[in-house]
Amino acid sequence: MRLLRAPDRAAREDAGDAHGQAEPAAGASSELALSVRGLSTVYETGGATVHAVRDVSFDLRPTERLGIVGESGSGKSALALSILGLIEAPGRVLDGEIVLGGRDIARLSDRQLGAVRGKEIALVLQDPSTALDPVKTIGAQIVEAIAVHEPQLRRAAARKRAADLLREVDISHAERRLDDYPHQYSGGMRQRVAIAIAIANNPSVLIADEPTTALDVTTQAQVLALLDRLVDEHRTAVILITHNLGIVSDFCDSVAVMYAGRLVETSGVDHIFLAPGHPYSEALLKCVPNPERLTEGPLPAITGFPPDLSSLPTGCSFAPRCPIGRELAECHERTPQPHRVSGPAGEATVECHFAEQRIREVRV
């Protein structure tokens, strides 16, 4: 297994520079909100081993908004669950460090992890209707989330905090609406409640897995505005998992493209729209109708299918579908190492044999 430590971290910090953001002291992991190193997760089913997350490393600064983009089956949700210690059998985390608040939470017992999860790091899921218990009031569910980590808190005080949280996520008549059940809320309101529960204990990292996918576009804009406030006012770092590059542009300041369990390209957010380094990033960008760049004729679809994660091809896992590498022996034989490249919108780390060449061509 390869270790990405040095180049990966350096790339992240440079990406931050491009946005003029405050930088932590170089390499001081205690000043990072989250640092993931060499994380690998597998699912073992019927004799086959599915490599869902393969040796993934990345850093997240306080207040950073990292977008993780990929198609279904790319491993992006498995990555989120691995970080939170929520992988269930037949899956398991094989290896890796997950440093949160100065300690490696991958080494914690389930019980210790329970004290961290929901308090220091929290999760918001795609479908707000499944995240809430239909037979409990909204208020009871928020109070529960607070009480898990602050059992000594008085009931009245917890209820007041719950009302404050509802107000914070823009739900009007908060006191009264505490006693409503989830079905009395709209989809957008339920997602805001899910966010209220996730931020109840003021976590330093929030992982949001397709938080707006089930919502209407006007509601989606409101949820993103809410996440903005969360970052600005509470200094929460956000990992936003999505298949929608438009949302990445609208919300994130850095982006990682995931393919076949690997982060194949990581960069500041504008880089991927101006000079996508990995052919997969570029293909993903181009296959979606873009109102500002309508193509002539057919959309450039990505041919073929994502690889079977239980029997990965040798070499680059995108090679069989890659417009550049499909015919090249090098791409089918040698696994690309991470290349650090510098483009028109800052630095990027790209796992492609042709990363340098591609970036030079962009600059011409």
Binding site: T219, D270, L299
Partner: protein, 368 residues
């Protein structure tokens, strides 16, 4: 962006005509909903409220709007898969609401439906070949051998092999299942196909493949599409004309260029402004545009005047908007808008002017 107007749309090869093929006239649809009073009595809720639209032969006509706007219900009413509560639907001049079952069935051969969910819409016990052959069987077309051949040809047309025709739905990916659903709808050589969110359940890379397939088939077969989408970027790419629906009423109808560049209804503007665009500089772009007001309303409590009034940046609180439903006006040829103050909330750049600022307009193509 001149390419926008000149770009060959989905129906480029068909040359959309001015010949109406599908018309809704004052179409309304109510459902009985329980609740409303404390005895739980049923009462009618108007899901579609006085809708008039014309779809021309050979075009791709888009129906867009947020959840609860009634676009899927309208699609079903247009083929009389649901009975109308009021109004009528004309298919090629024939009033569908006057037909009996047999007449309707005979006509159904000419109008087909592709559903959103390729997992729920295919019978898991049938092979792909049998699924595609079944409509021919139902309509008594050809003998068994001819039907099988037609089904296999249709499957080949959507990119599936004869070997794959022997497999059942579970053996296929989502994109492949949607291809089977398309083959089943198209095997009868219909004139109109209603596509109800045909790519929403698919992965982005597969969406492009299915959109391309639909475009090619339209060109080959000279079809008319009614394309239902909540994704405005997809509707803009795919449709020639678009109707915007809100709470069961038509807000605006216009051709692609007009609707997406200079919409007149404040709701169309809000909707378009909220679409995240995959271009550099999205955070600044989002900060510069107005926040949508409130949430999508409900047809159960549709405001008495304009349904968009409570959320409208122009009309909120205005007496006329609160109390009077705006009549449909016709500001330009082919452009319809139901608003008391059309054009008062114009679309802001960059959604309007096309393209990012010059310094950010680095070529995405140059990466090749």
């Amino acid at each position: 962006m001149s390419a926008r107007e000149e770009r060959p749309g989905a129906s480029a090869g068909v040359a959309a005509t001015r010949e109406p093929i599908l018309q809704a006239e004052s179409l309304s649809k109510s459902f009985q909903v329980r609740g409303g009073d404390r005895f739980g009595r049923k009462h009618p809720v108007k899901v579609l409220d006085d809708i008039s639209l014309t779809v021309y032969r050979g075009e791709s006509f888009g129906l867009v709007g947020e959840s609860g706007c009634g676009k899927s219900t309208l699609a079903r009413c247009l083929l009389r898969l649901l009975e109308l509560s009021a109004g009528r639907v004309l298919f090629d001049g024939v009033d569908l609401t006057t037909l009996d079952r047999d007449e309707l069935r005979a006509l159904r051969r000419r109008m087909q439906f592709v559903f959103q969910d390729p997992f729920a819409s295919l019978d898991p016990r049938m092979t792909a070949g049998a699924i595609v052959e079944e409509p021919l069987d139902i309509h008594g077309i050809g003998d068994e051998r001819e039907r099988m051949r037609a089904a296999l040809e249709m499957l080949a047309d959507v990119g599936l092999t004869a070997e794959q025709a022997r497999r059942r739905p579970h053996a296929f990916s989502g994109g492949q299942r949607q291809r089977i659903g398309i083959a089943r709808a198209f095997v009868l050589r219909p004139e109109v196909v209603i596509l109800d969110e045909p790519i929403s359940a698919l992965d982005v890379s597969v969406q492009a493949q299915v959109l391309n397939l639909l475009s090619r088939l339209q060109e080959q077969l000279g079809l008319t599409y009614v394309f239902i989408s909540h994704d405005l970027a997809v509707a803009e790419y795919f449709c020639d004309r678009v109707a915007v629906l809100y709470l069961g009423q038509v807000m605006e109808v216009a051709d692609r260029a007009t609707l997406f560049r200079s919409p007149l209804h404040p709701y169309s503007v809000s909707l378009l402004s909220a679409v995240p665009i995959p271009l550099a500089g999205g955070r600044a772009r989002r900060a510069s545009r107005p926040q949508p007001i409130g949430e999508v309303g409900s047809v159960v409590e549709r405001p008495p005047g304009c349904p968009f009034e409570p959320r409208c940046p122009v009309g909120r609180g205005r007496e006329i908007c609160r109390t009077q439903r705006p009549a449909m006006s016709n500001p330009a040829e082919g452009h319809l808008v139901a608003c008391h103050f059309p054009g008062e909330a114009p679309l802001s750049a960059p959604h309007k002017n096309g393209g990012p600022p010059a310094d950010l307009a680095a070529p995405a193509d140059a990466g090749e």
